[in-house]
Symmetry: C2
Subunit: 112 residues, 2 copies
């Protein structure tokens, strides 16, 4: 995974934190499909994720909240097509945020 | 890791995404110290993290942006005391956000 090359704030972040059930049950395949599909959506800025064996955090970045909400509909549809969310996740939390400031090793203001 | 038991929004999230250098170099120890220290700070609401071998995402939650900024000073001090940030991170990005909405498997509104 790389660090998302997001533009100057404000923009929208959707933090998805999950506790996984045991076993794959098609999760890796679904996860890959989701990432590819996200990248095709209007307002998509980037995605970052890290996964432990039992839990994971995915943060997707969007131009505004409307783009994030539109993606939610698409994602929910995909999940419904494949398998129930309950097959993969013991628990999860979605947080929709406005990013106000960001910075890296060189300080703030490094944007494409 | 568990899912942070955050209160009803709005609150502040600090998303820390990092690409790690190779080897531990005291990282695991620092990381544990940081978590314990964070939990003692005023305005601390919770922390979530997931780590791949090469990258990681840590999200800390705070009552407001002032609490998050205060924590940044403490964290920077600890890192300076231990080892240079450049020993652990090939690259990183910090994003300071306002959480506007959140929900879980049962929908929104499940807060302590």
């Amino acid at each position: 995974m790389g660090i998302a090359n997001t533009p100057e704030p404000p923009y929208t972040a959707v933090i998805f934190t999950s506790l996984r059930t045991e076993g794959d049950h098609g999760y890796a395949h679904m996860s890959e499909s989701m990432e590819q599909l996200a990248a095709e959506q209007p307002g998509y800025l980037g995605i970052e994720y890290a996964r432990d064996p039992g839990s994971g955090i995915t943060v997707s970045y969007w131009a505004d909240e409307a783009a994030a909400v539109a993606w939610k509909q698409v994602a929910a549809h995909l999940i419904a097509q494949e398998r129930g969310r309950e097959v993969w996740y013991a628990d999860y939390r979605v947080r929709v945020c406005t990013v106000n400031r960001d910075y890296g090793p060189g300080g703030g203001g490094v944007h494409p």
